[in-house]
């Protein structure tokens, strides 16, 4: 590796070309948020008593009407979309990290990252479409 001239100050472009920071940082941020959101999701689905709206049923039921009613509220829409985006980012970014362990060439690593982004965006659109079916 060619040693760098350390006495030369960094240009603003150099200062902003730190690689790998945001994927690493956002993996931790998304992981932290997921712990919170998954907790909210589990509470919402199983313990919030939303199924009580169905009168006359002894057991908890997950019915289309209940889900639709829940998703008509802005807060739940926000939580579910956030959950979808964060799960996809965290999972696929984690997958990218595992694949990078194999030490692919820079060209292959860039292709792999692009592929995972496409997969993520595609899956998000599909998931959003499924969620919108309840909302619209």
């Amino acid at each position: 590796m060619k040693p760098r001239d350390m006495s030369a100050p960094l240009t603003s472009r150099q200062e902003n070309t730190v690689t790998g920071f945001w994927p690493w940082f956002l993996q931790r941020v998304s992981g932290f948020l997921l712990i919170f959101l998954v907790g909210v999701h589990i509470w919402m689905t199983h313990f919030s008593g939303l199924s009580d709206v169905v009168r006359g049923h002894q057991e908890e039921l997950v019915l289309f009407e209940i889900v639709k009613q829940r998703l008509a509220q802005g807060l739940f829409i926000f939580i579910d979309f956030s959950l979808l985006a964060l799960v996809l980012y965290h999972g696929l970014n984690g997958m990218r990290n595992i694949l990078l362990e194999w030490g692919p060439a820079a060209r292959h690593a860039a292709g792999m990252t692009a592929g995972l982004w496409l997969l993520g965006v595609g899956t998000f659109i599909y998931g959003a479409w499924a969620l919108l079916a309840f909302i619209l």
Partner: protein
Amino acid sequence: MDTITLSVRRGSPEQNTTAYWQEFDVPIVEETMSVLDALIWVQRNVDPSLAFRRACRVGMCGTCGTVINGREGLACGTLLSSAAGNGSGTVRVQPLRHLPVIRDLVTDPGLFFDHLRGVDPSLTPGPGLQEPVVLSPDSKERQTINPHRECIYCGLCYSACSVAGLDSGFLGPAALNRAFALVSDSRDASGKQRLQIVASEQGLWRCHTIFECTAVCPKGIPITRAIQGLKRKVIVDRLKNLFRLGR
């Protein structure tokens, strides 16, 4: 006189010799006999062709790093009797991992030192500093950097690091530890540049905090703490940069 079996991984890839294990019966001449003493005994009394590196024999130079019973250690700093106490009475010695073997226990440390050179391991004096520049021994800064300056560049951490084994482009624990010592030193004027070098896909972010480097360091350097410290510095630097751009 008691003897132990010294099992040595031998071979010379450069001469297309297939690696093999060879066993030697070594007498325990003294209770304080080290693994290095045993290797020297074999070289002098049994097989002069046995190749290994050594220099100071007192754990200062870091030349005799090997893998002893599957764990990285300095041959001079590992007692033969304690190494043999693994139940089988056999001490298995093999070359450091993740570095090309030249012959027997001798590896080529070129890659290790290339990574070290990559972070520019020398201090860049800040402008206007007058010699001697003293950091008080009881200052927080001195106490932070002191343990990280103890590195003897033996390469044990690099050998123990699983990530270095997977990705030869990974800077490795020793280079990151050196970068941390310099970045934390107020006398060094290249902190920004050094942070920029280590904050790369094959630098800081590749470390998975496995702690193996810290576990095998013969100087007890908290290398993982250094790497985490660098990560914190980069996070602060990046976020500051982000908010500055936002204005």
